[in-house]
Symmetry: D2
Subunit: 369 residues, 4 copies
């Protein structure tokens, strides 16, 4: 089968022909229809420090997917051939303290699809039946594939209720954009979003941000205060992985408010804990993975409601073979979420395949500091 | 001034001329623009057992309002003349255990506007400054007035998060209708609503119910299960005060789910606690009043977002003088929320003033048991 | 092997010789050292309505145990031969909504050891490895066996924090007694306990109740108020299954307080929901089983701390063969928890084997209504 | 009256004669019996950067107290002459977002007794009646005075339940020692405490720490893991204000665990957020002040229970005049909590007045890395 492979310990990926996986008694084999690209995949492509320490080439990468079950192991009862499925990509051990106390998303022996095992940038992928998620057959495949990162956004934004609360989201990359869509579906208001990339701020508004701010030009903290009667926001969700955004958000959140951290930082971060966390009596949540499987059920409900529309975040739909072009777009920050179609992009999606041109991204911002 | 008064311990109310209240150092005087009718007001009109035990005539009744401050006591700093305001109508003592531990909505010495003090079915009302709520000047007065019952709906529906969760609301009177609107703004799905009154079920759909069921004709529990993949709903909010609806809802909620009780029952209710509460490990919240003032802030945010539209629930707009007609409509169940305008209904609202005719309420229901 | 069997659909149990169970690849075989008697076992002995509908004779009964692993299935890695173990006795399916969302204690397809499968009133018992709990080898076997009901008590009392809070426990049977011990270890104060049986009230005091009340002689609600400065208790845990105790507790809990229901009622119960639940804004938890496996970890920690001493609740230690005498003692309410030793009671426990004599149980109560 | 005064903007304090305060209609005047010293007082004594920016001399300092009401303002009903009282020392505005949403401990306009107003290192102190707390008349005055810092410890340790959970406390100064006592009363186990000062570790054990570790000699993270079966602790409470302790604690807490931060840092702290907070999915609480007045009720219950004994933390009892000696002891870390008696130390406390001698503090530590 065709597969995108990290062939050797060096930058880059290659499209190769590799054998179709063979499955065990508790596994299923899925014919992949679409897969989508996560920042992790880009890190592996670029072969950063984390990748060098973690990945053991040769290996098929990729972990976000939607497809159909074509074979099930003999002990599998929860899913059948023909089911349209996606998958939780964190593979917990089931036996550690965390797995036994409802926190398997932080399993001490976690293995990750496409990182510790062969992934889904391929025609077929092997999955333990326990992590397979049955989709509504009518769910668009690209949306089905991004349920996995959407789950991160749900856990980040909904770590505590946001309905009827003010919210700041810093970082409007794919994850932040999904977070904005979740916040809007959940009834947060105002939804203030920041990014240094105006193209992404435009996407942010199309997903439901009520105000966008470019910290390169605008005084974020002052603007947030002005928009919240001087109080600051009740909720701050950090998706950027940028220390400056973290500091601005901690400053902008109201005393007694709540913070969720999803964005990853290049290195340890200096934080004024006294003034920005302790005296403000903040609650700060570190967010990783998705709660299994509570998050998936909430994602399903939100998508079915029609209140959560993530399609504006899916800016590019490419054939699998265009993986390298996709990686470069991601590195340039010139995209939202990129979807790869294993057997080619359907004709009806052709017109959304083209990236938004640069000149289109010069949009007026709505608040000035 | 004109005021609707319970003149003597007997059924009925009268429009009378009474003196404008005089205020103390911590009070404000409000010129009432609109007031809206609560089930409590109808109980006082009908002079039921509770009213006989509680009300001390002669007294002005009414407690939901919007208006403008025309005078403030000398110690009042939080609000000024000209402010457009509504009010929390529960007047806590500030000194009991509950008041000192963030639960003043269940103050042990609670007094209620229009029940224990003269109310707002009048040109002017006296309010302690501590319970006055400043509105956005652009908020429509009728919406401003119903923030108070909307707060009950918020506390009922949002006692725990509903975003991305299935929900059953039993009882589509004014409170239940507001609950449906809140659930929709908060991203609950599906939102299943029941009532024996088809007119109200039609209103329910216009406020966001995704399925409505008439238990007089349909098998509610079976329908709820069918709509939730056999699991039942995660959240059950009881607004009806009907024991049968309570039993159906407890049956229809999934094990480990959550229940909020707002509707009041005519008498003690027989509940199969073993099977419907204990073995199901439900969490049941009794809901009363509104959390002060957290609920008000959330209501403000929801209304400002545009995601919460309660206007379909405001079926009738009457002049204050039509209070008796309004009470009879309520008793007949032929209305949503009724708004009374103290100085006459504005011309632009004339066309929503008329009740929906009976033949319009015969609408197809969407699920059959 | 020797086993206590329900031989036919009729009252009573018999000691029989039956084959040692054979285990599957995911099971373990345990040589039982001690087992303890639950109210459920007594219901099966008495052959009540529930038993008739549920049990399929012939069957070995019993589900609380401690023993040593003597054989493991070929796929079992989490436990080994020689381990000293107890077991969660609720056997969830692992695939339903509840199992996938951290609520497997209310699995929709639950099977229960000794109810739906052969139990542990026997020399050997077969257990799925997934529910086996490894004990500290130094834990006394009788204490190890009662970890299972102790888990119910933990979930009941600790459904919300009790540290530094006032608490009422109604019903001082074995479960309530364990609840008192948990409340004490958790720093609740005062701990008020009620029962109509003075012998049990004496046990209650020995386990940490700071005040005991006999509702047959004392005005419980008034006494609770007097002990809490007029406010009532913050927490009410109902272990009795008696409607009168439920009503007294709901009356005695402070507005905004919390209620946990564990006791089972003979029939549906009439509750004044308006006055006792809704207007008081109570939170009511139905409690069933134990949270898997969070509860077990907390029980382990509490037992290891030395702060939780349940031994005063273990009033009788019998050989397995004395099961019928034990059942009669339970029916008479003349015991706390009864422990059965499969191979005879150790000599050093001989002196605690005898029931407390009736005259010893006439003790002064500490509060009079 | 006699009072300890910061006379001018420079290091040091002076005992002076100043006028007895005059009270307003909402105030009470308290004759101070005992006062205790907080780290804040030492900062004012030493005249650090924070003090220079905050304190406006001349001013009476001090904020922890117990005494008797000798005069009440004419509007005061909640407290009367002769009452034995302590006080919440944070004086909230009552009107900001935080005050109106149950978070007045982070009032945006907070004023603090002895910082922004004249304090209680004096014969008399003026207090707003709203912050006065009535004590049980039998509560020892020194214990009554330390209820205020005990409240910080309660909020830190009990931010989430600790009953039946493992806990690490870093920093065994007065606040940390009180935290240990709270953890023990709440049934946490094990309770692991760290400090670089062996004298304080000895105090830690006397207050209930089950293991103490000196990071100057021992490998804290490894020891914590060894004590928790390799998992790390469920709860980490940071009282030290030392960045190294923070890092060790974040390392030692189990994934999905909880962290409370009370200790203040000299400067911003570098934190490996990715590895230690985000990937571990920790919940981190900033703790400041005490929740009004929920914390006070819990402290009252804990002290009344007899389960919480803070007296081993009260290492020194001095007359008010010995304030300078007390400050030096604190700077040297050679004490727990120091209590000052305004009218002299009672004879029966004479023998606890002497500091523990240095040689007594060389005690064996219980775990080696």
């Amino acid at each position: 089968m065709r597969a995108v492979v990290k062939p050797r310990p060096a930058p880059g990926l290659e499209l190769q022909r590799v054998p179709v996986p063979t499955i065990g008694p508790d596994d299923v084999l899925v014919k992949v229809k679409v897969t989508s690209i996560c920042g992790t995949d880009r890190h592996i492509y670029e072969w950063d420090e984390w990748s060098q320490a973690t990945i053991r080439p040769p290996q098929v990468i990729g972990h976000e997917l939607a497809g159909h079950v074509v074979e099930v192991g003999r002990q599998v009862r929860s899913v059948g051939v023909g089911d349209f499925v996606s998958a939780e990509t964190h593979l917990p051990c089931g036996e550690c303290l965390q797995c036994r106390t409802g926190r398997m998303h932080v399993c001490q022996n976690m293995r990750i699809l496409g990182v510790h095992t062969d992934g889904c940038f391929a025609e077929y992928v092997k999955l333990p039946a326990a992590v397979v998620w049955k989709n509504d057959p009518d769910l668009p495949p690209a949306v089905a594939s991004v349920q996995e990162p959407l789950g991160n956004a749900v856990d980040t934004v909904l770590a505590e209720p946001v309905t009827g609360k003010s919210l700041l989201i810093t970082g409007c990359g794919p994850a932040g954009l999904l977070g904005i869509a979740v916040a809007r579906a959940a009834g947060a208001f105002p939804i203030i979003a920041t990014d240094v990339n105006d193209y992404r701020l435009r996407l942010a508004r199309s997903l439901g941000a009520t105000t966008t701010l470019n910290p390169g030009r605008e005084a974020v903290v002052e603007a947030v205060r002005a928009l919240t009667g001087g109080d600051g926001v009740e909720v701050f969700a950090e998706f950027s992985g940028h220390p400056g955004a973290l500091a601005q958000g901690l400053e902008a959140v109201t005393p007694g408010g709540r913070v969720s951290l999803l964005g990853l930082y290049r290195s340890p971060v200096e934080v004024d804990l006294n003034r920005l966390v302790i005296f403000k009596a903040l609650t700060v949540y570190g967010i990783t993975g998705r709660k299994m499987f509570e998050t998936w059920y909430r994602v399903r409900s939100l998508l079915a409601s029609g209140e959560l529309d993530v399609t504006p975040a899916l800016t590019h739909q490419f054939p699998l073979e265009a993986f390298a072009e996709a990686m470069e777009l991601m590195s340039a920050g010139a995209c939202g979420k990129i979807v790869l179609w294993v057997d080619g992009v359907p004709a009806e999606l052709d017109d959304v395949e083209r990236p938004v041109r640069e000149e289109e991204s010069r949009v007026p911002v709505t608040v000035h500091g």
